[in-house]
């Protein structure tokens, strides 16, 4: 029975307790402020301070496996604006691009449906990075391997929930059986719709074969920085290979035309060698 998380972004308050809990449980170091000298700035500003609302990670990285995104929607006159806040992480896709791309078998899916990079197997080839349509997997220069959220693999295999869900003070991140969570999500969506939130939608039922970590958004997924149609790249592998073979055949035909034009038969050549 796959385990997963339901992230109800409509009740997220942006406290980042999930980010802290994730870092603590997974022993992920903080990033030192990087005061690079930028000639465009009059005063030294840390290059890794985002300056983008309250976002302090900017991206999912080898040491930031959870990222609270802040989307400020305010018109010029500051009337009727709103905050959209969403805690983002690996979605543990059922059709996982990273898992399909891994050449070493370092990426595995466990019996609970979560996708894990085995740190002692990963060689750091980085092919899983561009293969993830959500931009989740990242390379860590500290370990020389690809790293990402494991859905707290060792916790969930010992009967505990994920660290982020445990720390979440509003219940925005809920851990459990995916089937149970879907019931909860559907009920919450119906409630929001009845309250007049017409744009509310659940992200992750059909994307990438279904996401074990799925979201309730109050606007289009792209507003929250998620791809509207995530592209699991290996779906194109057969066509891509076939066209490449056609290219090889075309070059082979060119060779046939070029090397056989004189009308001589191959047998003459065999004699030359002998």
């Amino acid at each position: 029975m796959p385990k997963g998380m339901f992230v109800d972004t409509t009740i997220c308050i942006g406290c980042k307790a999930c980010q802290v809990a994730c870092k603590q449980w997974n022993v992920l170091p903080g990033e030192p402020a990087d005061f690079r000298v930028d000639p465009a700035e009059k005063i030294p500003v840390a290059a890794n301070f985002t300056g983008d609302s309250y976002d302090n990670t900017a991206d999912l990285t080898g040491t930031n496996w959870r990222r609270v995104r802040f989307i400020e929607q305010f018109p010029e006159n500051r009337v009727g604006g709103r905050w959209l806040i969403s805690s983002d992480s690996c979605k543990h896709c059922n059709d996982a691009g990273c898992l399909n791309a891994c050449p070493t078998g370092a990426l595995v899916r466990t019996d609970l449906g979560n996708v894990v990079v085995r740190q002692d197997v990963c060689i750091g080839c980085k092919y899983c990075l561009p293969s993830c349509p959500f931009g989740v997997v990242a390379f860590s220069h500290l370990t020389g391997t690809a790293r990402k959220c494991t859905l707290c693999d060792e916790r969930i295999h010992n009967g505990l929930g994920t660290a982020c869900a445990k720390a979440c003070p509003t219940g925005s991140i809920a851990y459990g059986e995916v089937a149970e969570l879907k019931k909860k999500a559907d009920a919450r969506l119906a409630k929001l719709k009845s309250l007049g939130h017409g744009k509310a939608n659940i992200y992750g039922y059909k994307e990438a074969g279904g996401l074990n970590v799925f979201y309730l958004f109050n606007d289009a997924p792209s507003v929250y920085g998620q791809p509207e149609k995530p592209d699991v790249p290996q779906g194109r592998l057969v066509v891509s290979s076939a066209v490449t073979v056609a290219g090889a055949v075309a070059v082979g035909m060119a060779a046939l035309v070029a090397f056989r034009e004189q009308g001589q038969s191959g047998s003459e050549g065999e004699e030359v060698e002998k």
Binding site: D59, G97, N100, A101, C102, P103, T104, G105, A106, V121, C122, I123, G124, C125, K126, Y127, L129, P130, S131, C132, P133, G135, V137, A138, F139, T143, G144, A146, G225, P227, D231, P233, Q234, R236, L237, S240, S241, V243, T244, V245, G247, A248, V251, G252, A254, A255, L256, V257, A258, F259, R260, E261, Q262, S265, G266, E268, G269, E270, V272, E273
Partner: protein
Amino acid sequence: MSPVTHAPGWEWFYIGLYFFFGGVSAGAYFIGSLAEFFGGGRHRGISRAAFYIAFPILLVTPPLLIGDLGQPLRFWHLLFDARSGFPYVNLSSPMSVGSWALVLYGAMAFLSFLDNLVAEGKLDFAPFARVYGRVPRKVYAAVGSAAGFFIAGYTGVLLNVTARPLWALTDPLVGALFIASASSTGAAAIYLVMKWRRIHPGPELEEFERFDRIVKILEIALAIAIVIAAGKYAGVLFRGPYAVMFWGGAILLGTLVPLATNWYAHRPGRHVQSESAAILMACLVLLGGLLLRISLVQAGQL
């Protein structure tokens, strides 16, 4: 295709160079094999030159591939399961299949290299000649050209089958483009080796050049198709160093100038191309092939 994806951070001096050297080696090898297969022994000068260059160039590539890894000492995990030690392959991963293809291709290139040395009397190793000679040459040529085509093309599939916008949008054309580029750079390498070994192939050079012209036209057509397919994500190829590398290096110097020079040398009433010009053109083709790989690998990561 989505704009939020992560770039792998592959360095041009590792992965870009590997794509280039792998392409030159594989291109030379499949041209040599095809010349052997279709031309019988008439083109042995070409195939000998090809097999002399394919294996030594291939030897450059493992350090490049291993150097880019975050954990270089674990490179063997590409071929063998880290826990059980059994051979491992992931059929949905071009990198995994490509690793095994490199092993097969390396073995083929090594055999052909040894065969060259034995046949030309540079290496006295009678048992090898006896065992190698048991299998008909056409079989080596067929398997060798298939392996060469795979090595030349899989790198393009590897780029296409990702979620990076430029690489995903140009799917499924990059594999075919890299095969065409491997053909022209492989042909250039063969030509340089023949010049270096002072082999003057006479009439068969005409056929060799005809092949080269066809694949260069194919290469230009595919490169233009790729720019069109990439749509707005092709913009990077029109700016700064990428415009210089892609249009100036890969397209102009790597294909158009050598093509034009070749046509000019063969215009009616003239049959000889200046040798130094031909050598310069071969060097330009190689430079163009290198810049093509670097520009596409790096532009896709921006």
